[in-house]
Every structure is written in C-alpha cells, then in structure tokens.
C-alpha cells in the first residue's frame, strides 16, 4: 500500500475503510458494492431513505451481520467483523436507537455495566462514580445526579448516558443510530453538542439521521445511500439540504455515474486517487474515496495507538 503519510508506518488518520461491501438477505440485496470510510475526529453522516441500507451497513460494522462480500480495513489492517464482540474489540461502539439502558439502575451502574471496576471482589463504586463525573464533565453533559435511576432522566439525558457508556472502552469509532429522533429542540441541541465533543476527543463518529438540519449542523461529510448503493459523498461545507434530499430520493442518481469508473478499477487493489477531479453534479461536490490518511492533518488528542 502506498503511503502518503511520512510520520508513521501506518496511516494515522484513517480509522476505518470499507470497500465494495455487499449483503443479501435471501433474495433482497440490502447492500451492493458500498464504499465507506471514517477518519479520526470526523463526523460522517450516513443518510438515505427507508430501506436504503443505512441500518444494514451499521450492523455490518457492529458485527451483527457479517458482510457477504467486500473488505474492511481498520487502521490499515484488513479485519473481519464477525460478531459484536469483534467490533467492540476493534473499538467500534454502536449506540442503537433503543439505547439499551437498564431503567432500574442508576447512571453509574449503567455506564459501567458489564465492565464494573472492582476493589478486590466487591464493586469499586467510588472510583466508578468519580470517573463517571470526569467523563460527563468532559462531555459537558447535564445530568442532575449520577445516582438516580436512568428512568427518571429525560430523553436527551438518556442519550447522553448511552453515549457516555460507549466511551468507557475508549472506542475509535462511535456509531449513533438516529440519536435525535424523538427529542425536543433543546435536547437535540444537547446531543449535537455531545457529538461535537466526541469529534474533539478524536473519535470517528458515524451519525445516522433523517434530520437534514442536524446533519448539516454537525457532520463534516455526508454519505448518501440509495437502494443499497452509494449515491454520493459530499462535504457538508459545500452542499445544500436540497442537494442531499435530491440524492436521497433519487432525483439525482450518482450510483449510475459512479459505478462505471469503479468497475474498471475494481480489479486493482490500489485505492482510487484523492486528487481525482470531483464530479460536479446538481450543485454538490461528490468526493471520491481519498487515499487513506490523506485528509485531515490536525489530530486532536485521540486515543489512537491501541
């Protein structure tokens, strides 16, 4: 693999790269030849209509459904994600829409569930509570008390707890499935702030959302899926909601345009060149998959080097 990053032996910025991912459920092709990548400290929004394959792609990453075809690279190494445990071991944490919190347990207990700190044979509540506060302060999260049952928290606070929980294992990539669905205005703002904190901490964030306003507010890059195929990758800076919606609904069909060159280089193992001139279609800039590690230079205090 050609290196554009002189500082280290492996690309430092790119965390995760998926190439040509395909997944079938019986006769249904849920994903066909999907490319996807995430860098450290980057928020990538994954958008698409219902049935576009967003959830399937995320489940492939989370290890719920292993892909039928295609390759996944993590830190430049080819990896297989065959189970949720594999995903967690790599440092991919998924926060599904249902949050999966235990309502009867308090915030601390939920945060550390399954990996409680121990002091001998007993739980080290003091240490866990202290670290919980540290983490919540780092996220500027507003939780009234960490000793109340999660059931008594608001939707945004519950989302905060779920996100904070995913950070306990210091993951490289955090996947958020519709984090702002069913939240009010203030709570949505709270969660979006939280996503910015995640970016500052150097996590790669994958955000699935139907809400274009949220996507435009917080994402760096938008990946559009349509009918299980890539339908454009846009920089948020130079795209409008209208363009995105056009791509989502299929008013603009990039998949047809994009498949043709890809077929030709599918045989070659080299990734496509980042300097390839972008298509200018319908006002948005479609980005080609850049070479690993070429994109962002600032690397805010990441948890890298696992």
């Amino acid at each position: 693999m050609s290196m554009t990053h002189p500082r280290s032996g492996r690309p430092r910025e790119r965390v995760l790269t998926m190439r040509g991912i395909g997944k079938r459920f019986g006769a249904v092709k849920a994903l066909t030849d999907v490319d996807f990548w995430v860098n450290e400290g980057e928020v990538v929004a994954l958008v698409g209509d219902n049935g576009a394959g967003k959830s399937t792609l995320v489940k492939v990453l989370a290890g719920v459904h292993p892909p039928d075809s295609g390759s996944i690279e993590f830190d430049g190494e080819p990896v297989g994600i065959d189970s949720p445990a594999d995903a967690q071991e790599l440092g991919i944490e998924t926060i599904f829409q249902d949050l999966a919190l235990c309502d009867n347990l308090d915030v601390v207990a939920n945060l550390w569930l399954g990996r409680e700190l121990r002091d001998g044979a007993t739980l080290d509540e003091v240490d866990m509570e202290q670290r919980t506060w540290t983490l919540l302060r780092e996220l500027s999260a507003k939780i009234p008390s960490v000793r109340v049952p999660v059931a008594s928290l608001s939707g945004g606070q519950r989302q905060t707890v779920a996100i904070a929980r995913s950070l306990i294992g210091e993951p490289r990539v955090v996947i958020l499935d519709e984090p702002t669905a069913a939240l009010g205005v203030a709570q949505t703002a709270e969660v979006l702030n939280l996503i910015e904190r995640l970016r500052e901490r150097g996590h790669g964030v994958i955000l699935i959302s139907h809400n274009m306003a949220d996507v435009m507010a917080v994402a760096d890059r938008v990946v559009v899926l349509r009918l299980g195929r890539n339908n454009g990758v846009y920089n948020v800076a130079d795209v409008t909601s209208e363009t995105l919606i056009a791509a989502i609904t299929g008013a603009v069909d990039h998949s047809a345009v994009r498949r043709i060159p890809e077929r030709t280089d599918a045989a070659a193992p080299e990734p496509r060149d980042a300097d390839e001139p972008p298509d200018h279609t319908a006002g948005g800039t479609v980005i080609r998959m850049p070479r690993a590690g070429a994109r962002r230079t600032p690397r805010p205090r990441g948890e890298g080097n696992r």
């Binding site: 949720p84 445990a85 967690q88 249902d98 999966a100 919190l101 235990c102 309502d103 009867n104 347990l105 308090d106 207990a109 939920n110 569930l113 399954g114 990996r115 409680e116 121990r118 044979a121 007993t122 739980l123 509540e125 003091v126 240490d127 509570e129 202290q130 506060w133 507003k142 009234p144 008390s145 000793r147 109340v148 049952p149 059931a151 008594s152 928290l153 608001s154 606070q157």
Partner: protein, 415 residues
C-alpha cells in the same frame, strides 16, 4: 438498604441543576421525594407489620409476648430461607413455583439417607443441598436452552419433584429424625446465651457503622458527596437501639435462636452479594432489561442458570431447616402453603413481580408478615381456612401496592 445511602439527592428539581448536598435534612427529603415518586421500598410492609401487630395484640394480649415472638422468629427461618431464593428469581423477572416441592424433596433425601441409610449427617446434608442445586441447574438449562417460560418449567417441577419426594420416602411415608442429632438441636434447642446475643448485636452494628464510615471517607477523599458522620451516627444508633431492644425482649424468654440468626446471616450476605458484586449488579440488570444486559456483555444465560440454581439450593436449605424443626420428614413436607407462603413473602416484602426491583431484606420482612398473620390467627383459635383467606387477601394487597407504585413510578419517570 445501605445502597440507598447515595440516593439522598433530591430528584424533583429542574434537570439543569447539579444536585448536591448532604446531611440529615437532605436524607429525609430524599426519602420523601422517593416515596412520592412511587419508590416505596420497605414502607408499605413496615406499616403493614405495625397494623397487623397492633390488631392482633388488641385481640389477644399474648401475641406480643416474648414467648410468642421467639416462636415467631423460629417459624420464620425455614420459609424465610426459601423466600430468599424466590427473591432472586423474581429479581431477574422469573418465577419458581416449585420451591415447596424442592424443599420437601430435600427433606426426604436428608431423612432417608441420614436415618434409613445411616449416612453421616454432613454427607446427608450435602446430598440434600446438592439435589436442590441440581434441580435449579436443570431449570436453568431448560430455560436458557429451550426458552420455556419459567412458569411452566417450575409448574412441571412442582408436580414432578413432589412425585420424586414421595418415591424417595417410599412405603414409610414419614421418617422421624432423631432428637439427639445436632441438626434437630440446632433448629429447636439452640439459643444464643444472653451475653452472646448482645455481643452479636453490637458487632453487627459496629460492622455496619464501620462500612459506612469507610465509604464516607473514600467518597470524601474522592471529592464526592458523602454522608456526614452525624448521619452515620444516627443511622447506626437507631439500628443499635432497635437490635438491643429486640434482643432484650427476646431474651425475656428463650432468646435469639441460632437458626433465626443463621437465616439473618443468609439475608445479610445475600444483600451484600446483590449490592456489592458484579454478579449482583448483573442480576438487577437482567431483571431491568435483558437486552441491555446482553449488549453490555453480561452472559445472561449464566446469570439465569446461577439464579435458578441458587433459588432451588436455598429452597433445599429451607426444607432441611423445616424438617429439622419438626424433627421429621414426611409426605406433606413442603406441600400445602409452603410454596405460596414463600412466594407471597418475597412479594409482600417489596420485591417486584416485574423484575429488577427488590432487596434481600424483602424476604425477611415478608416472612415476618406472613408468620405474624399465621401466628395471630392460630392464637385466636381460627383454623387454617381463615388463615389461608387472610393470607390471600394480604398477598393481593401487596401486589396492588406493587402495581400502583409501579404506575406512579412510570408517571413520575422512575419506572
């Protein structure tokens, strides 16, 4: 109960504010908001005991005599131990209807091996307890492997193990356990000497206070809200007064039974395991949300397996205590009201039937309610027909309280 110590932060305030504060006033405020929010804890059952005791004392002045209360404690131990197992199963949101049959089976195994086969008593005890444990593992296997509802599995167990109990007892039907064996003495004759009972009470409170002080110090060192020494002092002082008074009163007659103390020790250790270990945390998590527990990496199947095994094991221990107290095992051991009394005790004590809520202490307070009713009605010369009906009514009341408080919790966002 100690786990609640941290929850003194009042909850009903606007969510933007970080709550803090300490002291007795805050502790009381926390209790009040919690109760208003429908998190009743032990309150209904404590009130219930007060009402029941007052009524029976008015009807028959013997009821609150030292003699009757000593007998009451001894009656509590066996079924209370079984109820402790039921609490565990309820905490994960399941049920075990066969605890009575399993306790009877354990009693039968004990009597047959010890009396008829002349085994060493220790060996017989191990055999009886092991049978209980095996039954629980079988339930756990059926539950986790085939996904049968625990209701059905244990209903089958209720019948099946009653049959096994009859088969083990064989032709005789009733086997007397010799009075000179230490097991029977343990259950009938052994009481703490007066000085020892006070020493135990003081030591227990000292251990409680020490654990609170230790925690408060660590929390203070870590800059977390901690209990003030005054609050710890008040808590420990109240507990000490209560225990000393109870001990003194029981000592007016025969004193504190060793079997009752054994039961108390079981309850306290179970509370410790449930609140201070990863296993206990996992039990509550599974009861709260199986899916969340699974995704958090908890091996849910193992939790179910261990909980069913512990429930049946405790049922076996309870059966042994009951047999020892009666000095016999027979075809009616563990039948009749044992089953439902044990389950009722757990529910009356405040363990939710819906899983994830309750403490080990609910077995203790629940069984005190049940046995108080039974003892009081016996003193009034009312026969078992009335007893059954009254217990049934109390059980329904307890479940109503559970349901209403659950609804209140949902309404106030504490569900």
């Amino acid at each position: 109960m100690t786990a609640r110590g941290d929850e003194r932060l009042a909850e009903a305030t606007p969510d933007e504010r970080l709550l803090s504060g300490s002291g007795i006033r805050h502790a009381l405020e926390g209790v009040v908001t919690r109760i208003r929010g429908g998190d009743l804890g032990a309150l209904p059952v404590v009130l219930g005991i007060a009402v029941i005791w007052t009524v029976f004392q008015l009807l028959n002045p013997v009821f609150l005599s030292s003699e009757n209360l000593v007998n009451l404690t001894m009656q509590c131990a066996a079924i209370g131990t079984i109820a402790l197992g039921v609490v565990l199963v309820l905490l994960v949101g399941e049920i075990d209807l066969s605890v009575g049959s399993v306790s009877g089976l354990a009693a039968a195994v004990l009597a047959v091996t010890f009396v008829q086969l002349q085994w060493n008593l220790i060996l017989s005890l191990i055999a009886a307890i092991a049978i209980g444990c095996l039954v629980g593992l079988l339930y756990g296997y059926l539950f986790t492997r085939f996904g049968l509802p625990s209701f059905v599995i244990t209903l089958a167990g209720l019948l099946g193990f009653l049959g096994l109990q009859l088969w083990v007892l064989g032709e005789t039907g009733s086997i007397a356990i010799p009075f000179d064996s230490w097991l029977v003495e343990f259950a009938q004759q052994m009481f703490l000497p007066v000085w020892a009972s006070y020493v135990v009470a003081v030591l227990a409170v000292a251990a409680y206070a020490w654990s609170l002080v230790r925690r408060a110090r660590r929390r203070a060192a870590a800059n977390l809200v901690s209990q003030s020494y005054t609050e710890i002092g008040v808590r420990a002082g109240v507990l000490l007064l209560f225990l000393l008074a109870a001990t003194w009163y029981l000592n007016l007659y025969r004193g504190v039974g060793v079997m009752f103390l054994f039961f108390l020790a079981l309850v306290v250790s179970m509370n410790f395991v449930l609140t201070r270990t990863r296993w206990g945390r996992a039990v509550y998590a599974v009861g709260g949300s199986v899916e969340a527990a699974r995704r958090a990496g908890i091996r849910v199947d193992r939790i179910y397996l261990s909980v069913f095994a512990m429930c049946s094991t405790l049922a076996a221990v309870g059966g042994i205590l009951a047999a020892a107290r009666l000095a016999s095992a027979n075809q009616s051991s563990g039948t009749g009201d044992v089953n439902l009394n044990a389950i009722a005790a757990a529910v009356i004590g405040g363990t939710s039937l819906f899983g994830g809520r309750g403490t080990a202490f609910s077995a203790l307070v629940g069984i005190v309610v049940i046995q108080s009713i039974s003892s009081g009605l016996t003193l009034l010369n009312l026969d078992s027909s009335v007893q059954f009906m009254v217990t049934g009514v109390v059980l329904v009341l307890a479940v109503i309280v559970d349901s209403i408080s659950r609804r209140t919790r949902a309404a106030t966002g504490r569900a």
